[in-house]
Structure formats: structure tokens, C-alpha cells
């Protein structure tokens, strides 16, 4: 089926040389600053997104990483049609997002952890019903979807309670349900787990993964919680100060930036850092405990050697924390820029 093959290979999200610049008005602190800004406003151009290009295929789950203000949310907003690009081009499902055609609006969803579409003073169910009408979801499909979402998210009693009386986690569940009632093919999730506790974060993650599996939906996700990204996304896009820094396989990035594993040792007898140095890079050693970084490729071999030569009470192998890796990536960006400036 060459045609079907073609469809599945076509990119659903195409972003080419996308830039979005803002005019931001600056205010100096204090009353005098306010006065000055009242009389003569100063504006500064901010390059929120600067010449970014990437493509995303159907069914992919892509993590969008970057420090605060990197341009993640701005990019998502352009893709959702909320913002007009300053230059460059973005298409999603073949549509130009900012035209906001109904045919497009019916096929994607935007979930913002910090903004809600649920009506605050009514039960979430009421928002569901409004969405059913607005998205023109047939009754049978609506019932089926609600049942499915209920199975996955346990909405039962909470969708009948006033939204303002729900906990943050319960509200997020309802928010997701409201956003997915029309079974969108593309999901833009901006910090969907923000403020949730670890268990609830895991639930939401499982749910997103399940939705992706069931409907082959394309997912773009930003999150401050690295666990969200590691659990869901094989591919990540890293941007900083509006510029694309990395686009590719998550594992590959980890291996590039952190080509080591961590061995934590509980020693039977006090040992010196020098004695351990032959097995790997010693990060810390204070008598009975030690932490070593060993090259990924030779990790097993080094460990075997170590265990045969040193008396060890307990040993654990760990992957470097992803937070650290990302921090290193961003530190690297800073260095590159400093070098470029020189």
C-alpha cells in the first residue's frame, strides 16, 4: 500500500525557520519607574523563538526541553494558532495554525498546566457537555469517550463536583478529559503535570502514553519534570534563548553528554580515593562510602574488576540523573556562546 505508506511517513508538524519576536515594554522598579514608564515607554525586542526548524511524524512523542523563557511555550502557542510567527513557517496537519480554521481546531488540543478551560464554578461535566456541542461530537462517540476516559482517569465522582472544589490533581484529570473529548490527533501539552505530586504525575504520564498508543496521536510535551520526558519521549528537542540546540534521540544525547555510569559503593573497610582511582573517576570517597563514574562502554568490566579486588558491603549502579545531564547541556550552551563572543 504505497499510498498508506506515504501518509504515515508524512510529517504532521513541520516547522521551518520559525521566529517569533515580541516587543516588551520595560518598567524600572518603584514609583519613579512607573512614572517614567507612563510618560515614555521603553520597548525592547525579545527573540522568543529564533530560526527554529524541526519536523514531527505521526504518533511521535517529543519532549520539548529548555530552561525558563527558552521559547518552548511560545513555539507551542504558534503551533496552536495563538501567536502569529514573525517569520518562517509552521504547518500542522497541513494547516497554517494562525488561520484557526475550524477543521484544524477540531483536530488538536492544547493543555496548559497553568491555564484552564474548565468552568470554575460548575462541575467539569458541564464543560464536557459544552465541548460535546462545540466540537460536534456525536452522542454515541461522546458516551464511549467519556467511558474510556473514566476508565483511564477514574473521573467518576470528580466530574460531578464543582471544579473549584477539586484538588489540583483531580482538576488536571478533568482538564485532560475536556481537552481529549474530541479525540484530537495532535496534542500540545505545556507543563501538564505542574504542581502535581509524584503519584499523580505518574498517573497522568501513563494516561498520555496510553492515549498515544490507542489513537496513534502525535504528542509534543514540555515539562519541568524530567521524569515526564524520560518516561514518555524517545526524542527530545532542546531549545535555549529561542534557538534550537539539540534535536534527536534522548538516549544518544545522554550518552554524548554523560558517557558514564555511576557506581555507589558501601565498603567493608576504609579505602582511599587513590586505591579506587584505577577503576574509574572517583567523585567522592570518605572512608566507607565512595562514588565512582565509570565509562559506559567498560562499566561492567570495571565493576567486575572492582568487586574482585575490593571488599564491598553493597554496590549500586545508577544512570546519571537526567537533571544533571540537562544542566550540563545548558552549561555547555553558555560556554559555546562565551567562546563565540571571544
Amino acid at each position: 500500500m504505497p499510498f498508506a505508506f506515504f501518509i504515515s511517513m508524512a510529517y504532521q508538524i513541520e516547522v521551518t525557520h520559525l521566529s517569533k519576536h515580541y516587543q516588551v515594554h520595560e518598567k524600572e522598579p518603584g514609583l519613579m519607574g512607573s512614572l517614567r514608564s507612563f510618560v515614555a515607554r521603553k520597548y525592547r525586542a525579545v527573540k522568543a523563538v529564533d530560526d527554529v526548524s524541526f519536523n514531527i511524524g505521526q504518533g511521535e512523542m517529543v519532549g520539548f526541553l529548555g530552561p525558563n523563557g527558552a521559547g518552548k511555550t511560545t513555539t507551542l502557542k504558534v503551533l496552536a494558532g495563538l501567536l502569529y510567527p514573525t517569520s518562517g513557517k509552521a504547518t500542522v496537519l497541513g494547516f497554517t495554525p494562525n488561520k484557526r480554521e475550524n477543521a484544524y481546531l477540531k483536530q488538536f488540543t492544547l493543555v496548559m498546566g497553568q491555564k484552564q478551560q474548565l468552568m470554575w464554578d460548575l462541575p467539569a461535566q458541564e464543560t464536557f457537555l459544552v465541548n460535546q456541542a462545540i466540537y460536534e461530537i456525536p452522542r454515541a462517540q461522546y458516551d464511549a469517550t467519556i467511558k474510556e476516559l473514566d476508565d483511564l482517569l477514574e473521573l467518576g465522582p470528580i466530574m460531578k463536583k464543582q471544579v473549584r472544589k477539586l484538588s489540583l490533581g483531580e482538576r488536571m484529570k478533568c482538564e485532560l478529559a475536556a481537552a481529549l473529548l474530541h479525540r484530537p490527533r495532535v496534542l500540545f501539552l505545556d507543563e501538564p503535570t505542574i504542581g502535581l505530586d509524584v503519584t499523580m504525575q505518574a498517573r497522568i504520564r501513563e494516561f498520555i502514553a496510553e492515549y498515544n498508543r490507542r489513537y496513534g496521536a502525535t504528542v509534543m510535551l514540555t515539562s519541568h519534570y524530567m521524569a515526564d520526558v524520560t518516561a514518555l519521549c524517545d526524542r527530545i528537542i532542546v531549545i535555549d534563548k529561542g534557538r534550537l540546540f539539540y534535536d534527536g534521540n534522548f538516549r544518544a544525547l545522554i550518552e554524548r553528554v554523560a558517557p558514564y555510569k555511576i557506581i555507589k559503593l558501601q565498603l567493608a573497610q576504609p579505602t582511599t580515593a587513590e586505591a579506587l582511582a584505577q577503576f574509574g573517576q572517583v567523585e567522592s570517597c570518605n572512608g566507607l562510602t565512595a562514588v565512582l563514574h565509570v565509562p559506559r562502554a567498560t562499566a561492567t568490566e570495571s565493576a567486575a574488576r572492582l568487586l574482585s579486588q575490593v571488599k564491598v558491603e553493597d554496590v549500586t549502579f545508577e544512570e546519571p540523573p537526567v537533571e544533571d545531564i540537562i544542566r550540563e547541556v545548558f552549561a555547555g550552551i553558555g560556554k559555546d556562546e562565551a567562546r563565540g563572543a571571544r
Partner: protein, 262 residues
Amino acid sequence: MGRKYLALFRSAWMLSLEYRAEGVVWMMTNLMSIIMLVVWLSISHGGPVGGFSSGDFVAYYMVGLIVRQVTGVWASWGLSDDIREGALSPQLVRPIHPIHRHVAANWAEHVMRLTMLLPIVAVVLIITPDARLYLTPISIAAFMLSLLGAWLVSFLSDYAIGILSFWTSQATAFTQAMQGLKVVFSGILAPLQMFPAAMQGALNWLPFRYMLAFCNEILLGQTRDERLLFGLAVQWAWVLFFFILVRILWKLGARSYGAVGA
């Protein structure tokens, strides 16, 4: 579209039942009309003023209560907040223009308040012996049409002001200015016949008369025949004007929407 409106209306109705305290605010706005009625009644005690007998004043202000209820709009406040706080974003990604939600919210309130208001107005009109309405098939039809026009002029002009929030964070200052002008020039303070002739001439062309006084005049039989047709033409020209203005402003505004913090 009908089904969509029904759903929006239903939720708006439920919301307005949630916020009962707003009813108090609403009573206050009506108080203004009642006070003006009392003032004019005491002035017209000795005899008709500007062609208005005491009964005419009662009829004028009672019809006015209903027209004012229908033309009461506050969409610009909500819209302005939504734009400033970025709450517009979730609404913009839905396949329905956000204006429809505001229309539904507006009418949900109207229906609830009119059901309370209509019986009171009817009773006052019946027990006031010389408060007479000019009720003919044509005047009633023209009144309904003018009432729809009055709502559209009020709602669309208010919405146009709300859209200014895309550029300025203080659009509600314009709303308040507009409300002030409306109180004076739409006929709430005094029937427009009380104004100097030159001013009346100007008011015939401005939008304010068509937000209230024009409807009252039709039901009191003061504006008929070719003057009625002229009024309807001007009113609906304003409807068209504000409709186009809203469309243009929205197009431009959406372009400069910053989606702050959303």
C-alpha cells in the same frame, strides 16, 4: 449553531444562578431609572413637561427598565480580563468564536432578570391610570425590531471596546466612559425630547439614542411613520458599523495577541 448555542446558554444559565450576589448590583442600576422617574414625576406634578404628563413619564421609565435590561452589556470587562491574563487562549483554540460565549452569558442573565422584571413593570403600568402605551401590530413589531437593534448596538460597541485590550491594558476605562455617555445621551437621565433642539438633531445621528430612547418612543407612540423608518435605518446602520468594526478589530487584535503567561 443552534445546538452549540443551546449548550453555551445552558452553562451560562447555570453560572448566573451561581452568582446570585450580582442581582444586588443589578438592582442598583435599576435604582437610577427609578430615581429619575421620581424626579420627573415631582417636576411634572403641576402639569406636563416637554409634552410628557406624569403618566407618560411612568410609561417611559417602565418601558425603559425593560429596554435597559436587554441592552445591559458587560462583555468588555470579561473579555478585557481574559486578554490581559491570557485566559483567552483556551477559548481561542476551540472551534467557536469566543464572542458566542459572551452572547450566551449576556442572554442568560437577561432571561433571568426579565422574568423578574416584566411582571413588576406590567403591574405598575396597569395600576397607573394615565400611563398609556401605543400598542398596534406595527408599533409592537417595530419595537421588537428596535429592541434587537438596541441590544446589537450596545453589545457590539461594548465588544469593540473590549477588543481594544489587545493593545491597551485599560480598555475598561473606555467602557466606563461609554457607560457615562449612555446614561446621559441614551435617554436614561431624561427623555431626549427634553434636550435642546440642536442637540436632539445631533442625537438622531449618534448611536446612543438607539440603545434605549428610540425603543421607548416607539412604544409610547412618539415616533411613528417616516420618523420611525428613519430611526430604524440609522439604528441598523450603526449595527452594521459596529459589526464590521468588531470584525476588523478582532482580526487585527488576534494578530497582536501576546497570549501572556498562558
